[in-house]
């Protein structure tokens, strides 16, 4: 019989799991992707080495950039590390700080992080960084309605918009899993996540080809530890979005329902396994579809929007 952990420790573990697991998940995805393309691929631990190397390097700022340029990566990572406090990462029961924000609160933090990074990119005067931040803002405005409708579906399903409540509802019966509203909302969210993490439809998340560059371009002028923070930030964002998809929508099983050490450790392993599974699906999708041209992005988003709207529709007749 293992000892029960104090609640603050569990809360801290949620953040640490996401913070330390994120580069690993990225490494696994890169490996799977390379394998699918017939390459050997980098080591799974490569993202950790990259971060370690960058943290040791010198940091430079462009001439004329203000303090904000250097503060932005710190603010962004802080915002990303706050989100794991709000969503069910390891436990089925809400932790004390879990109720300080709902799904919208998490969404605000994600947009805050993206906003400060875009503003820092504007400070530099580099055309590529500005192009990236301009595109990122434009496209996030397009995907916003989809996210809103997913949140509406959640709110209609549970009567609240706390992520813990939805996870509990999904766990409660098989009928909750198989209702169209839930499945449609999950699919729409998955499509948004594909777009947000720089996969399908237009972006090549690893390349430096400016036609398909959105997120990657914004960090062009950053260097050293600040560049490392930005890289780490985008890995954190990816794992956070996968966690929301897996632990709230698709598979809220394997979470710890007690405060026992063993259960918590099991939940950590389960979370990372689920994130890697989602990542493998993402890698397969990314490798098997052609990228779209940049301005075709509205077609992709309109498909996601359609699915999210249908989710809300089906709920209105009760049976959804």
């Amino acid at each position: 019989m293992s000892a029960a952990l104090p609640v603050p420790v569990i809360q801290l573990l949620q953040v640490l799991t996401v913070a330390l697991g994120a580069p690993g998940v990225t490494g696994v995805i890169a490996k799977v992707e390379a394998r699918l393309q017939g390459r050997r691929g980098p080591r799974v631990l490569q993202p950790y080495y990259d971060l370690a190397k960058l943290f040791r390097k010198e940091a430079l700022a462009p001439e004329g950039a203000s303090w904000f340029f250097l503060a932005a990566p710190v603010i962004a990572v802080t915002a990303y590390l706050t989100i794991p406090l709000l969503i069910p990462v390891l436990t089925t029961y809400g932790l004390p700080l879990g109720y300080m924000g709902d799904i919208l609160g998490g969404g605000f933090l994600l947009s805050l992080a993206s906003f400060v990074v875009a503003t820092a990119a504007l400070e530099t005067g580099d055309p590529y960084a500005q192009l990236g931040s301009s595109r990122a803002k434009t496209f996030s405005a397009i995907t916003e309605p989809v996210v809103l409708f997913v949140v509406f579906t959640v709110a209609l399903l549970t009567g609240t918009d706390l992520p813990y409540a939805l996870a509990a509802t999904v766990r409660s019966s098989a009928g909750q899993v198989i209702r169209p509203a839930h499945l449609l909302a999950s699919v729409a969210l998955f499509m948004v996540i594909l777009h947000e993490t720089g996969r399908i439809p237009v972006e090549t998340h690893t390349g430096t080809n400016e036609f398909g560059m959105i997120e990657e371009a914004r960090a062009f002028e950053h260097s050293g530890p600040f560049f490392a923070l930005l890289k780490w930030g985008s890995e954190l964002k990816q794992l956070i979005l996968y966690t929301i998809l897996a632990d709230v929508f698709l598979a809220p099983w394997g979470l710890a329902s007690t405060r026992q050490l063993g259960a918590i450790l099991l939940a950590i392993v389960a979370l990372l396994a689920k994130a890697c599974a989602v990542g493998c699906v993402v890698a397969v999708i990314d490798d098997s579809f052609a990228k779209l041209r940049l301005f075709k992005i509205t077609e992709y988003v309109s498909a996601a929007f359609l699915i999210a709207v249908l989710g809300v529709f089906t709920l209105y007749l009760g049976g959804g």
Partner: protein, 234 residues
């Protein structure tokens, strides 16, 4: 139907499966709306027809209606195999030089894909809420599936309207039949088998008629596009 009743009250697994299949059919209908090539539209039609056969099997198993197994088999044979085969051969024979695409089909949209989808959402919402207020509950019917069928009927009309080529219009008409079958399955799944198969033969007639239309139009216009026909008005 208050909003509060929708909250928390999950339908059973059977209703859930039926509704999910109906929703997937509607999503496929939207897929046809944005798909540019006739080849891909036929593929989507096959998927949609396969889904409705699966739904027939689900209803047969749950409601103990052995007739429906026969119907499922028959409709799968006809709509998943025969009709797509006939359509493919028809489009292939029109111009054997062009390997995979008949002339005049690609680029026949009058609306951009995103606008077509938005227009489709409006149509679907109209059908959906109209049928929602009717409150029809059949013995086997999840009310939702019926509303989804109504939305599918309207969207398939939309598909026929926004596309300017005969092939897509034919596909739109066939999916209309799928939507009607869905509604029939949901509302009157206990219907005698002979009546249900009669619907399927209606589809055969439609295939023959559309096949003749497609060929006649191609002979006259050398293309499947109906854009030229606007000049014919007196």
């Amino acid at each position: 139907m208050s909003l509060a009743s929708a909250v928390q009250a999950a339908p059973g697994v059977y209703e859930g499966v039926a509704n999910v299949i109906a929703a997937a059919m509607l999503v496929i209908e939207f897929g046809m709306l944005r798909q540019a090539l006739a080849r891909d539209q036929i593929r989507l039609y096959m998927a949609q027809s396969a889904l409705i056969s699966v739904l027939a099997i689900v209803i047969a198993a749950d409601r103990n209606l052995p007739d429906l197994y026969a119907l499922a088999g028959l409709s799968a044979a006809l709509k998943v195999v025969a009709v797509p085969l006939v359509m493919r051969r028809l489009l292939g024979r029109i111009d054997p030089d062009i390997e995979d695409e008949a002339p005049g089909v690609a680029g026949s949209q009058t609306l951009s894909p995103a606008s077509a989808v938005l227009a489709g959402i409006v149509l679907a919402a109209y059908g959906f809420f109209c049928f929602g207020t009717l409150k029809i509950h059949g013995p086997a019917a999840p009310a939702l599936a019926l509303a989804l069928a109504a939305a599918m009927v309207l969207v398939s009309f939309g598909l026929m309207i926004v596309r300017r080529d005969v092939a897509s219009q034919a596909i739109g008409f066939f999916t209309l039949e799928n939507a009607i079958s869905l509604a029939a399955l949901v509302v009157a799944s206990g219907l005698p088998l002979i009546l249900e198969t009669a619907f399927l033969f209606d589809l055969l007639v439609a295939v023959v008629v559309f096949g003749m239309l497609i060929r006649a139009h191609h002979v006259r216009a050398e293309s499947l596009s109906t854009a030229d026909l606007t000049r014919l008005r007196g």
